[in-house]
């Protein structure tokens, strides 16, 4: 039995990722956002104590409960000291922030409520979106600065500066974590959804080659969106649509990359590797999302992802095209324009698709040339090759260069071009 038990060395990092953000959220809700650093210090000290104590005495039976108790005691001490300071030294100051008598706990309900409140605190529309995502990763997901930098392919210094500015705003924010009000929710829900959407995309389409981090980003985005759908306050149609989208996309995570870490194109993916469980979950949330008459970009993207995971049938691309037609009316982006055109080519044939693509005016985008390379392959192989070469020249990702170069080699071999 003892051999299968994890060592302190193995267990602590796991627990840290799991519990750090939860405990910080609970303490922050108790103290107010102004004192987020104090909350983080208390939680860090708790983990430090665990490292010392567990190394000597062994791992307690319920490690999370142990952490909660220590954090709670440390907080009480801290508040006593603070009160002493307030009463003895700053007796004249009436405005006290803390109420040492008031109690708090690490019950499941309080953890959930605190995390939910923290999501809304972090997603302050006054912060730039990148800053919101960094802050979410640090405060809500317990990522280190290095891990965030790795996910964004940025320098740690850049991330540190970004976080510093975002945290200053967080402390000054008058946002009340103690009671999440309907006004607060409606004012920030769109920002929250957008941040979680981008957090997921950062993992799903990330430039980083670190597969582990990418999967963790996706998992964290799902965990936080799930929190939204589980609370009656925030369980909106859009949140369900977003969660459906994440489930559908995640169902293909295992099939999208081969063992060498190279991306596998959709049509070449081994469908047996798709997670049926996640597809079913996606269906469930998509049905929930469609219970009211509302169409957001999350609904449309979830619909598109649904058709991608459904078994092949002739109608599929027609449906996907119509969804893209609606999506591009809501929000233009080069990626949506190109994806729409791909669907168009699938419905109306590649020659029509080429005409449609060449109107897009996206000559500086690698995906534009990759798409034309694909569409020209059976029609004019010389043109296909020239577009693939342009795509290779425009892409900065090594794995993508490799995938495209492979296709060029294949075509040259097949058509005997040197």
């Amino acid at each position: 039995m003892h051999k299968t038990q994890p060592t302190v060395h193995e267990l602590l990092p796991q627990l840290f990722r799991l519990e750090y953000a939860k405990m910080t959220a609970v303490l922050c809700r108790h103290f107010g956002l102004k004192h987020i650093e104090m909350a983080e210090d208390l939680v860090s000290e708790t983990f430090l104590k665990a490292a010392e104590n567990w190394g000597l005495n062994g791992i307690p039976e319920n490690p999370s409960a142990w952490l909660y108790t220590v954090a709670k005691n440390k907080t009480k001490d801290q508040l006593k000291r603070a009160q002493l300071f307030e009463t003895k030294i700053k007796a004249a100051v009436q405005n006290q922030d803390f109420e040492p008598e008031s109690s708090f706990d690490f019950s499941n309900q309080n953890i959930t409520d605190s995390q939910l409140a923290m999501i809304f605190a972090v997603c302050n529309p006054e912060n730039p979106v990148e800053a919101q995502i960094c802050l979410a990763l640090q405060v809500l997901c317990g990522f280190s600065v290095e891990e965030i930098a790795d996910a964004f392919l940025s320098k740690t210094e850049t991330i540190k500066k970004r976080l510093l500015r975002a945290r200053a705003k967080l402390r000054k924010d008058r946002f009340q974590m103690s009671a999440l009000t309907a006004e607060n929710i409606s004012a920030r829900l769109d920002a929250v959804l957008s941040t979680l959407y981008l957090l997921f995309n950062e993992g799903y389409f990330s430039k980083s080659n670190n597969q582990l981090i990418r999967k963790e980003l996706c998992a964290e985005a799902i965990r936080l969106t799930l929190l939204l759908t589980e609370s009656p306050l925030t369980n909106s149609s859009k949140a369900n649509a977003l969660l459906a989208l994440m489930c559908f996309q995640s169902s293909r995570l295992e099939a999208r990359a081969n063992e060498a870490g190279e991306s596998v194109l959709f049509e070449q993916q081994d469908k047996n590797l798709w997670s049926k469980e996640l597809i079913e979950k996606g269906n469930y949330y998509l049905v929930n999302a469609c219970s009211v008459e509302q169409v957001s970009k999350y609904h449309l993207e979830a619909g598109i992802a649904y058709w991608h995971t459904s078994p092949a049938n002739e109608q599929r691309w027609g449906h996907i095209l119509q969804l893209y037609n609606q999506l591009i009316l809501i929000e233009y982006s080069p990626a949506t324009a190109l994806n729409r055109t791909f669907a168009y080519a699938k419905v109306y044939g590649y020659e029509q698709g080429i005409r449609e693509t060449e109107q897009l005016g996206l000559e500086n985008f690698k995906d534009y040339h990759a798409l034309l390379g694909y569409l020209y392959t059976a029609i004019d192989v010389e043109k296909a090759l020239s577009h693939y070469q342009k795509a290779i020249a425009l892409t900065r990702s090594k794995t993508e260069k490799k995938t495209l170069a492979k296709e060029v080699e294949r075509l040259k071999k097949e058509f005997k071009i040197h």
Binding site: L321, Q326, L329, A337
Partner: protein
């Protein structure tokens, strides 16, 4: 880039027929194609023929849209293109001509 309003006109007979799903798809493809070129300024709206009144001098109000010219406006969109020729080319691809409609292309004069 200049902005142009495309004004869709239909005659009474054509407007009475509900569009088929295929016709709807064609319309959406046309609109989606303009949006995919990032040249759609406003996707406009469809104008009701039922809930419509025409107000004339002398407090004269008649039911229905303005039909003195046999056709009436069924909707509009706003696009941005280099010149009016490009806007006209866009209009030519619209499926409205299959049901006897027409499109008026008018440049938007911007007030300073």
């Amino acid at each position: 880039m200049k902005e142009f309003v495309l004004i869709f006109r239909l005659d009474n007979a054509a407007s009475a027929v509900k569009p088929t799903p295929e016709q709807m798809q064609e319309r959406m493809n046309w609109l989606g194609s303009i949006a995919a070129q990032n040249k759609l300024v406003d996707k406009g709206n469809t104008l009701s023929t039922g809930s419509a009144r025409t107000v004339k001098p002398g407090n004269l109000v008649t039911d229905g849209p303005y039909t003195e010219i046999k056709e009436f406006i069924s909707g509009y969109i706003i696009v941005k293109t280099e010149d009016i020729e490009e806007a006209v080319e866009m209009a030519k691809a619209n499926p409205i001509f299959k049901i006897g409609g027409s499109i008026e292309v008018r440049e938007v004069i911007k007030r300073d």
